[in-house]
Amino acid sequence: MANQKHRILMVSDFFYPNFGGVENHIYYLSQCLLKLGHKVVVVTHAYGNRSGVRYMTGGLKVYYIPWRPFIMQNTLPTLYGTLPIIRTILIREKISLVHGHQAFSTLCHETLMHARTMGYKVVFTDHSLYGFADIGSIHMNKVLQFTLADVSQAICVSHTSKENTVLRSGVPPEKVFVIPNAVDTTMFKPASERPGGSEIVIVVISRLVFRKGADLLVEVIPEVCDLFPNVRFVIGGDGPKRVRLEEMREKHSLQDRVEMLGAVPHSHVRSVLISGHIFLNSSLTEAFCIAILEAASCGLLTVSTRVGGVPEVLPEDMAVLAKPDPGDMVQAIRKAISLLPKIDPQVMHERMRKLYDWRDVAKRTEIVYDRAMKCPNQSLLERLSRYLTCGAWAGKLFCLVMIIDYLFCCLLQLWQPAEDIDEVPDVAGWNRQEGDDFRSFSEN
């Protein structure tokens, strides 16, 4: 049973050419699953003129379905609009399991709903944290509850994220697995020689927005520069808060000590990281934080705010954590600077290689897939009863949505029977390439 090969459809609004934690996760997970002998197909929406079917490294097939994103890279929620094309892809690719990513991807929610209607097993990965107080979160949580009411298994990227997801959606905790992100340690190697001299460079790479704590940086940087005359900052990233940082730089005349690089393309992140000694993360909320992994893999000592899943990411001796408060952050940086002589980037890198590996992530995800496939098949009525428990009004609404989806699906079956849809022949030998080289992310 353990060697059962799956045919997996990964679905999310977020995929290459966009960059971020989710995109990385899907790409590396797919590559490793291909290596394990599974078939993986990715579905996302069209990016600019990138529409249709593309192949990526290792024969990873990507469907860019011709739906335009309308806000923050999300497709317009239409509930049923994507059913015909998703149904065709599912049948054409002879998919056995659907894996959706990210709670605010509308395409993911819609596809999971259609897949459940058509009787597929579905797995959902949640990559983010949400509060419970504001109106946006309340609505998002209801949508998540709808999707998770009927998934076979769910995955979260950290234990904090699991707690959050269980609270938000009310799924039983034993259905939720914790499988963290990983880092491609071959891509983030430390420099052969550490930047020398008495100067200490602190690197910040993040989008300069409120949630990433750009305002904390504005308070912390002048204080640190004042305390340590040999410290220099390198800030990579762009965003609405960039103006505030530049104002701060001018107000304290730190132009020669704070370098602002603007947006850093992902392929250049390593070269920025290896120019520094300490990596500073000031996020106010974070489910996992891949940036810390990348920095640690490059041999940098991390100073971070203690928020969300961050304390779970690194062993205590590899990172200095602080409260999200300027005074405490400065203390943490002071501690990090005193620890710095004891840090050997090469040793750090070797440790990271043992701690995080995408192949390990893929193997653990494989177990979740096996579990999902063992879940019993359920009739529409059994599934509707699950939706009914979601709330007095929402439950009935969810049931109605599912019933219409089912009818729509029956109609499509009459109009275009599954037997009439061509199946794609499997191209053998794609995944026979040797070596661990899955670096060519942007070759396509």
């Binding site: 234990h159 707690e163 034993e174 697995f177 106010l284 909320t285």
Partner: protein
Amino acid sequence: MDGGISETRPKWRKVAYGGMQPGFDDNHTDDLFLEDMVMNANVVKSELLKVMQDSVSISQYLCIVTLVGLVWTYTLQSNLDENSLLLLDATLLGLGFLVLLLTEEMLSLNQLTYYILNIAFFATGLYVLAPIYQTLTRSISSDSIWAVTVSLIILHLFLHDYSGSTVRASGALKVPNLTSFVSLNASIVASVFVASRLPSRLHVYAVMLFSLQVFLFAPFVTYCIKKYSSRLHLMVSFVLMAATLALLYRLHPQLFVLFLGLLVFVSVVCPYWLIRIQEYKFEINGPWDEAKLCFNITD
């Protein structure tokens, strides 16, 4: 499971690194699960008396708007002539300034001349525009005007910012939001509509000045009183309530009953209701919340 195995078994740790923890599945739910969750940490138990006291601001403003409505009605019925209206305007203006002088310790001579100059401009502008207001809605039937006026006043009351004032003192911290501007504009349009039904220019001018004075500055003045002393605030409110009820009784006993019911609803029933539904309040906090910054961001 016997004791020997569980002793040799390594302890589960809440960490994400190092791959799958030996002896535990990825869906292992430990006793530590949700240990950092805090429920109802910031819920403030409110007291009935305190809520009732706060609701007085609402009743007070309801009275002020009702008084404006009464003045409109009396003017339209020709019970109030233009001279007494102008006298009323001047009295109100004087009273308002007196209150400001007594409550605002910051008011300097400079600021006072600034206010007076502004009001002079304002009054002159209104006088020039009065003929236009008078003929503005001549082609529209009176019924439509009354209907629109009533809906605008209701809109005004719904969106009004009862906690502060739209016209603010210089240096006040709170920035008024969009709804309070919509509310203010609704009241001004309503006054224009009412004024356009009046017989003479001077009438229009007097009524417009009166309505604008009240809608623009009454919240500001009451805000100043409230800030100065809550006891004075309560006293002023009760005087206003009594006056409104008396005048309404003279106009129509049914209206009196209706308004009394409204006041009781606002200052007794609603606070009680709020206290009752407090127990359904359920707040969850935990490590997943966005961290709050402990300093002010000055953009």
